[in-house]
């Protein structure tokens, strides 16, 4: 089973040379720490920055320089700042190659819910609805089951949707899965020490297991 860092490490393998990448809040933010140094990647932060760098050293925090999670960050050489309309313009125009975000639920046809639990919790959708509506390459980073032990990979989402038919890949503490165009979660890899049976138990939606499922290399 993977911890959060492990999920981030595995997702980092999906980041390719030349990509502009948008990382959501939570586990996706950690992906930045594991992008191989020999590839050229630019991180987009939807509050208006391309070329996001690591956290600043203590004493060098700049209140005017933050990421979409409101964390103090740095700007790398070659970075560019722009306003919020342009930021979502480049997202809508599909200039961002990869979007990684968290979710509360994903359905077997790629619907995602991650902004609201009616009557209990409202965070707001932030930029997530814009991202999932336009991005063509969306990876969800999340836990396979919620705190109550219920599967988050469902036949249909039960919570208010953020977007429909948009998630392409899911990485959890148990597995890597593709969401197939015709529906269903195709099991690609198992986390170390996790059996196909464990993954079946934790997946409420249609799970497709085709032959031997390799253990992931992290």
């Amino acid at each position: 089973m993977l911890d959060k860092e492990g999920i981030a490490k595995r997702i980092a393998k999906e980041v390719k040379d030349g990509y502009y990448v948008n990382l959501g809040i939570g586990i996706p933010t950690l992906v930045a720490n594991y992008i191989p140094e020999n590839i050229d990647v630019v991180l987009q932060s939807e509050n208006g920055l391309l070329g996001m760098g690591p956290f600043p050293f203590e004493g060098e925090e700049d209140p005017d320089t933050i990421n979409a999670g409101k964390q103090t960050i740095t700007k790398l050489p070659g970075s560019a700042v722009f306003d919020s309309a342009m930021s979502f313009g480049m997202i809508r125009a599909k200039k961002v190659n990869l979007t990684i975000l968290g979710a509360m639920e994903v359905s077997e046809n790629g619907d995602i819910a991650n902004w609201k639990i009616p009557g209990k919790m409202v965070k707001g959708m932030g930029g997530a609805m814009d991202l999932v509506a336009s991005a063509e390459n969306i990876i969800v980073a999340m836990q396979h089951v919620n705190k109550a032990g219920e599967s988050k990979l469902l036949p249909n989402c039960t919570l208010p949707l953020t977007g429909v038919n948009c998630v392409k890949k899911i990485v959890t503490e148990l597995a890597v899965l593709d969401v197939l165009p015709d529906g269903g979660f195709k099991l690609l890899e198992r986390a170390p020490g996790v059996s196909v049976e464990d993954i079946k138990k934790a997946t409420a939606g249609k799970l497709i297991v085709d032959g031997e499922v390799p253990e992931m290399l992290v």
Binding site: S45, E46, N47, G48, L49, P54, F55, P56, F57, E58, E60, E61, D62, P63, D64, T65, I66, N67, G69, K70, Q71, T72, I73, K75, V81, F82, D83, S84, A85, S87, F88, G89, I91, R92, D111, W115, K116, G119, K120, M121, V122, K123, G124, M125, G126, G127, A128, M129, D130, A133, S134, P160, L161, T162, G163, V164, N165
Partner: protein, 231 residues
């Protein structure tokens, strides 16, 4: 074309109960903190506020929420603002949550004189309820209307007396598009300079969009999430 006013109090002197305000900033970054303090002290109520976030409990728009000066918030993210979430869930505060890009682009449309935009954000979700959907090239788009705000209140780094503005780093965020979108736009700046001191090639918001400008003193610029790495 001298747009300089004495300060936040004068800048907001004709804002009335029940008006619609746009407020720049993302989280606490690039927030028009001086004008918000003046609003909090003004007793103006029944406001509709268009702003990506609602500050935190004791800073930014959170101050106006605490004073019950806000009737309705139009935002994209509530985040960890406890008082906002409490007023929302209890129904005391009317809240319209909309996608962040939709929020920014509805500001942009107002500033560009366009009545509406089409965006795929929110298709298939509750955001689309009751809205016109148009199909272009096989994909569905929601029609979203340009905002109609009485005042836009923004924060810039530098400005000149003619209202030309320059922003700094990610404190730019919603400020330029909101500056363009208000019927009356108030800009507060850290540095107020004479015409000619800003390079025309480096101006982000041309002064035509700005009606009042003043220099704020002693910016607090609070940090919401202080994150650092080890040396």
């Amino acid at each position: 074309m001298n747009k300089v006013v004495s300060g936040a109090e004068e800048a907001i002197s004709d804002i009335k109960n029940g008006m619609t305000l746009m407020l720049g900033g993302f989280g606490l970054c690039g927030l028009p903190e001086k004008t918000i303090l003046a609003l909090a002290a003004s007793g103006i109520t029944g406001l509709t506020c268009i702003s990506n976030n609602a500050g935190v409990d004791d800073f930014g728009i959170g101050l106006l929420l605490r004073n019950r000066q806000v009737k309705k918030m139009i935002s994209s993210y509530v985040g960890e603002n406890a008082e906002f979430e409490r007023q929302l869930l209890s129904g005391e505060l009317e809240v319209e949550l909309i996608p962040q890009g939709t929020l920014a682009t509805r500001c942009m449309a107002a500033g560009y004189g366009m009545p509406a935009i089409f965006t795929p954000a929110g298709i298939g979700t509750e955001v689309a309820e009751g809205k016109e959907i148009r199909n272009f090239n096989g994909k569905d788009y929601l029609m979203e209307m340009a905002f109609d705000a009485d005042f836009a209140i923004v924060k810039a780094w530098k400005g000149d007396s003619m209202g030309n503005l320059v922003y700094r780093s990610t404190a730019r965020n919603f400020n330029p598009v909101m500056a363009m979108a208000g019927k009356v736009t108030i800009a507060e700046v850290e540095e107020l300079v004479e015409p000619g001191e800003l390079d025309p090639d480096h101006i982000h918001t041309p002064g035509i969009y700005v009606h009042r400008i003043f220099k704020g003193e002693n910016y607090e610029k609070r940090i919401e999430q202080r994150t650092v790495r080890k040396q």
